[in-house]
Amino acid sequence: MSRWLRRALFALVVVYLLAPLVVVAGVSLNPRQVLFFPPEGVSLRWFGTAFTDPGWYRPAINSLLVATFAALIAVSIALPLSYVVWRYRVGYARVVMAMGLAPFALPPVITALGALALWIVLQSYGRPHTVVLSHGAFLTTLPLATLTVGLQNLNPQLVEAARTMGATGGTVFRTIVFPYVRPYLLAGFVFAFVLSLNEYIIAYMTVGFTFETLPVKIFASLRYGYSPVMAAISVLFFAVAVALFALVGRVGDLPRLLGADERA
């Protein structure tokens, strides 16, 4: 396709993906409590508010805690599962794998409703561990996907060679498999972490306002009064995501982590 056409399409996609953020960033700079774009002036006071107003930084801390533990759970499920499916022939492993991949084949609202129903039945609705566990299971799909790609790229002959030279299963895992999949593990962790940080509907249906996360707080503000502080928070969120993914790109080869084949 002609170069001109390619440039037009790339520009369209980039503008489409960035336009909302440009407006949000502009609005966050308004010195007064208005949502003008272009802003009336330039002030960073709403970024200050985000860090000093407990109404905003408490949900932020809650979100960071949930995302950290949820991503750890997601990885703790995905790593042994993807390893067993790759390494052994165990009949039901494929079934468990399907359960790990299935959340993304369900409309998100159904996953959330399932979580709500589960925690009501177990009488722990509203407790912080509910959102951590439900996020963890829901987001397992992401490290599962990156680890599966990673293991696919790992040359089986390496394992075979180690075996021939007398390495046990544990040694093979420690010295060959784990070092090899580490960047994929990190990428999967980061995906799960960032998506948990941003997830709304499951958090709303498991803990709601009793353990308010940032998306739940933003949504409440969306309904009961806009403020430039929401824009400031959104900018910070986007910055965190860009920084983390850029870090993953720095540590590992991003195209390969996302499934491009092995090629220099």
């Binding site: 960035l18 042994p80 829901f138 397992t140 998306p215 850029a246």
Partner: protein
Amino acid sequence: MSAPTAGPAISSPADARSGDGPWPHVLLAWPTVALTLLFLVPLGIIAALGFFRRIQAGFFEVAFVTDNYARALDAFHLERLAVSVVLALAATLVTLLLAVPFTFLLTRRPRARQVPYLVLVLASLSLSEVIVAFAWSLLLSRTSGVSNLLVALGLMERAASWSPGLPAVLLAYVFIALPLAILSLYPTFSRLDQELPEAAGTMGATPLAGFLTVVLPLVRRAVAATGALVFIFVLGAYVIPQTLGRPAQWTMPVHITDQAIMKNHLPLAASLAIVLLVVSSLVAIAIVALGQGRWPRLALPGRAR
């Protein structure tokens, strides 16, 4: 990212054998317990809940009644279901029309050049639906939106508000779906032989003809799988139709959440969810089937497999 639907074959080391001892089962214990409890059991509870009886106080008792399904399938909810499916299909179509050529052209670039685009796509994908809804409501508002830009350019008389409404919902749907579609198409497209389109060009095909006749037939399964993934994702979105839509655009998730949280009618919410699940699965299966070869034949005879 393609794994959820594209389901790549998993390569195993050639030496997999029986008699591995208890290790595989020990390793699988936690994933099995966790996913059964947190994924399978909740689905089972929803399936059962749809038949339970609501008690006035807001909770429910075990029973076998069909009133919930009768309400979930009444004229009002069927219309909402139809609106949800049509909106999600429209968003899926627009998303694919953008994502397929974009991802193809992106994967033709040198790897290092791709990274900034991939970071942007990943960051957009992770952006909370809540933030997306907020951003688009600003972008389409009277005080801070694009209409001001059009006024400044002399293309419009005065600034207007385009949110809430149908265009706002569709624009935001495509916004959340586009990064997902790009990442889902990415593995297939980047593994595509770099020389194929060139070969088509050498043999006299225009770039567009080469893309349609050589590339598209090779990737149609991935495109269909991506379409199904995007469709389900958009169909299940709650915040966007709730915030950017008028009641006419309120989809099933809005009504499911409304019943579950505001009206405390979990059995009705559950039966609505099951109806949505069945319909979304059927449409997704149909989309995947389209990719299995019941497309109009774009390929030339004797194409490479």
